[in-house]
Amino acid sequence: MADITVGVVVFPGSNCDHDTMHAVASFDGVKPVMLWHGSHDLQGAKAILLPGGFSYGDYLRAGSIARFSPIMKEVVEAAGRGMPVLGICNGFQVLLESGLLEGALSKNRDKKFLCCDTFIKPVNCSTMFTSLYQQDEVLSIPIAHGEGNYFAPPETVASLLEHDQIVFRYCDANGKVTDETNPNGSVNNIAGIVNRAGNVLGLMPHPERASEKLLGSDDGRRMFESLFRQL
């Protein structure tokens, strides 16, 4: 059986592109390809990953320029047809700027870049990205961002809740969700959300950095594995 092709978009300034390629390549039967920002060709990819980093330098606002790139036009269209899209960190920011997800990410509560291990828990395990997780199990997955403070107006948050679109929340080692376990000030401790159709997920934590025990955790692997099993 031919390998499933998964596209990893490379914007100028992406810096988790190689990391994401590395994580994807560790799964049997999956072939990652790099999708250049200036191209319109998705190269037959069955799923798209938007990696972390600083697309176009992010001097204006994270992800604000990337959404105008030729490849994103194709990604948005494909997502509309149901193509699975996973945006990690800067990729999440790009998804929000592109309108594939609702809300916005502003500067962290304490105005500083923050890189550390965080605990998150999947609160919706029925998505194509989380089917291999147990509801409310505690995952150790790191964050590294300056603009990860998720915000949406109350009516949007209510709608996200109503439609089970909140997928990950920051918590402590025991799964407790509190202000102290919220690293960046995100409303409702939101770490990741999915679109209404369920095929577009954005999250701030980096599953590709938690895909090998050697790096401290492999809790992120099942996110990729959940997705790849659907393809």
Binding site: P12, N15, H22, F54, K112, C115, A144, S211, L215
Partner: protein, 761 residues
Amino acid sequence: MKQTEPEVTLALAKEHGLNEDEYGKILDILGRTPTFTELGIFSVMWSEHCSYKNSIAVLKTLPRDGGALLTGAGEENAGLVDIGDNLAVAFKIESHNHPSAVEPYQGAATGVGGIHRDIFTMGARPVASLNSLRFGSPKDPRVRYLVDGVVRGIGDYGNSFGVPTVGGEIYFEDCYTGNPLVNAMSVGLVEHHKTVSATAEGEGNPVLIVGSSTGRDGIHGATFASEDLSEASEDKRPSVQVGDPFAEKLLLEATLEAIETGFVAGLQDMGAAGITSSTSEMSARGIEKNGTGGIMIDLDLVPAREEGMSAYEIMLSESQERMLIVAKKGHEEDIIAVYRKWDVQAVTVGRVTSDNNVKIQYRGELVADIPAESLVLGGGAPVYIREAVESKPDTPAAEMTPDSGLNLKDRAIALLSRPNIASKRWVYRQYDSMVQTNTVTPVGHTDAAVIRIKGTKKALAMKTDCNSRYVYLNPLAGGKIAVAECARNIACSGARPLAITNCLNFGNPYKPEVYFQFKTSVQGMGEACRAFNTPVTGGNVSFYNESTHGGGRAAIYPTPTIGMIGLLEDIDNLVGSTFTTSGDAIILFGDPDLNLEGSEYQVIQYGTPGTDAPDINLDHEKNLQDLLVALAGKKLLHSAHDVSDGGLFVALAEKAIMNETARLGFDVDLEDCGAGPYRMQQQLFSEAQGRVVATIAPASAKAVIAEAVACNVPVRVIGKVVPQGAAIAVDGHDTLRFSTAELSRAYYDALENELHLNELL
């Protein structure tokens, strides 16, 4: 249009920092009066920063080859060390002290950018970044501004550029108040056949400028770095360059891709002194190698950021994110195409010649025509050996209080909360330490940072270190200890020390006592490197770190920072520094005489560092390193952590609490401690060298002790790991008890509290 340029005279040369002899030498070399542009070129190339004129004679005494070195110090932009599997490590540390003193954010950011360029111009992909920082007391509001700016600058540049910042050190001492130190280190990996030399060769080969356009920023940055800081230094803010990590990220990717084409004949970063240093140094290397060479540049072709720049300004600009490439003739378009793909400018501006000169044309005129070798270190640049006179610090010996008169538990907690000892979490969390997914353990869980090498079983261990207080008290011992501590840390992680780079931060070398510190600490460093077989691959000298802030002129503590690389042949043999298993035996390697000389404890308790550095025995250190590597190879160690700042108490506390999600406690009884009135203070807080606290399974004790005896390293069991709580007894009594939470609070909250950071927001 012809611009009027100042007439070149001795007075003007002096304004450029050249002395009368040096100006005379320029007249001799050229056989005529230099043009204004030529004067600018000589002044930057012969500045301390570029020529190492006051340091090179001393640096040549260091062991600069042997071991696994592929290129010796000074031969290329950075040192290159073989690690097998057709791979080499390129690494270097460099200072950006003066820019950071006046503009901390950009100064630190461009320091990081500059050192990474040195690495990737050799064809190596930067895989890790480290730093070494010194500031004045955090109680000073300006110091807090500097700390905040420097940390954000390092973070923002490295985070965006996509290289993990995996290690570093930060100390606070009053002597750095007006003159902080910002030393940045980059480590890169390259396959042997992809390395590129910073040499201009092949007559007629085209010379290209790639990267950012040239502007008026940073003109005379190199000269600025070669003089004392003063109140007037604020006016030199325009001498500080502005960094653009996004531009550099594109430059990195495009450059590594361009090298893949096989059409890059030579490559050098434009750091200090921009086009001037890159053209003259690349030419000189070509001439040295082939007998002939040289470069001709037409400045009209150089992309400029603004109109009306003079030749002088273009030649001396230190605009960031630029490089000089020598392409193989006929293939410049292949290279330009790669850069175009990455939206990076690449323009042919000249060619390699054979008349041995650097020739600069502008607006149809020859504005500079200088023999390349006359400009560079090892060629015509001046070399001075300055007068060295020892001047012992007049710090008093401590007037000790007996143990019985002190609340030692209280003292221990106070020590753990000192900014120099306490957790640097506030700092390192602002750095992306994980990007590239090679960082094996979280920051602080190993004594040296460890980066695995994908596709192999290998990993690199790396560390920066210098206890400048020791160097101040005893330059010879302090120089040795800086190297020994790095090596001990590398060995604690299970890796074998390979080589060092150094960043030598000192005061004004024209002061005999400063030159003595410089010369003597380099001697100590050299002795240690020889003893450990860790040659010096290169580095950087930063003189004139003296400041007039806060009254009289004060020199900094002499600070020869070491950056060391080690190799872990098998990642499975990695050893962490924190307790792993309750019930493990805690053992102590090394049994030196204990005193409090130079210790952090003595400074806070008695207000004086004392009169000498701790003793250092290089033979013992080497034995200890060999032992640690051997035990790691046999998988006998569960953890290893060296005893350094704060002494044994701090080492034990760190082992207990540094892994924030898996804290454990300890129960330790130190035996045979004698009967002196200060024995508790000495046992707990002495910074005597050559000691490592390790943990092992009790069943391994026999094997570990046998191995230690074979390596001639004293060893004893001092206690065991317990689920929680900490207790230290001396000869079975005088027990100090702490809860793990109490230790954590003291250790983790102190720096943030001290910096009062909320005041800044």
